[in-house]
């Protein structure tokens, strides 16, 4: 029983780590601001949520798990909102989206 929960938390942590690495590589390699915002916003939210759920399963039922659950809920609401505000500000300042055939910006 204990081993099953530990294996499950290990799987959650490794999948979350994979998503965070993919988000960072997309932040370096993609050609435009909007595509970088896409990679950063989605992959960070999902990876961080899965890593914290893995820590919650490892910890068990205690006060630490409640704090981690609050952190997951706050990140799940606030991180896409911050990225949306940044993209809205960039669109209002006149950053042109990238089309196929343009150079990297």
């Amino acid at each position: 029983m204990l081993t099953i929960i530990n294996t499950l938390s290990l799987a959650f942590i490794i999948i979350g780590l994979f998503f965070m690495v993919v988000g960072a590589v997309g932040l370096v390699r993609l050609p435009d601001f909007y595509t970088r915002a896409h990679a950063s916003g989605k992959c960070d939210t999902l990876g961080e949520g899965m890593m914290l759920i893995g820590f919650m399963l490892y910890e068990g039922f205690s006060l630490i798990a409640v704090k981690l659950l609050l952190l997951v809920l706050f990140i799940f609401i606030s991180s896409p909102t911050a990225v949306h505000a940044l993209v809205n500000a960039a669109h209002a300042r006149g950053v042109v989206p990238w089309k196929k055939g343009d150079e990297r910006r």
Binding site: L17, A24, L27, F55, L68, S79, A85, A89, A92
Partner: protein, 87 residues
């Protein structure tokens, strides 16, 4: 299990250096801002990992406060970029 925690800490620190390249070399203000936001969300996981490895649960409170400060700073800077003032 603690080996996994140390390994994920090392991988996250390498990921932070990948984002730091975008902060230093990115053209314009917006690329730098979104890279700083990404570094902030990785730092929250690093703080929780430090709290688990050294067995100090007080780092979870620091992680919650860091998440709130990161969100508020990003919203404030985005509003300043859009309007030109903080009104």
């Amino acid at each position: 299990m603690y080996d996994i925690f140390y390994a994920s800490m090392i991988i996250l620190i390498l990921t932070v250096f990948l984002c730091l390249y975008r902060v230093l070399a990115g053209p314009g203000v917006e690329n730098r801002l979104i890279a700083v936001n990404t570094i902030g969300t990785k730092t929250i996981v690093l703080l929780v990992l430090i709290g688990f490895i050294y067995e100090r649960p007080i780092f979870l409170d620091i992680a919650i406060i860091y998440a709130m400060i990161n969100f508020i700073a990003t919203i404030a800077i985005a509003k300043y970029l859009k309007r030109g003032c903080l009104c």
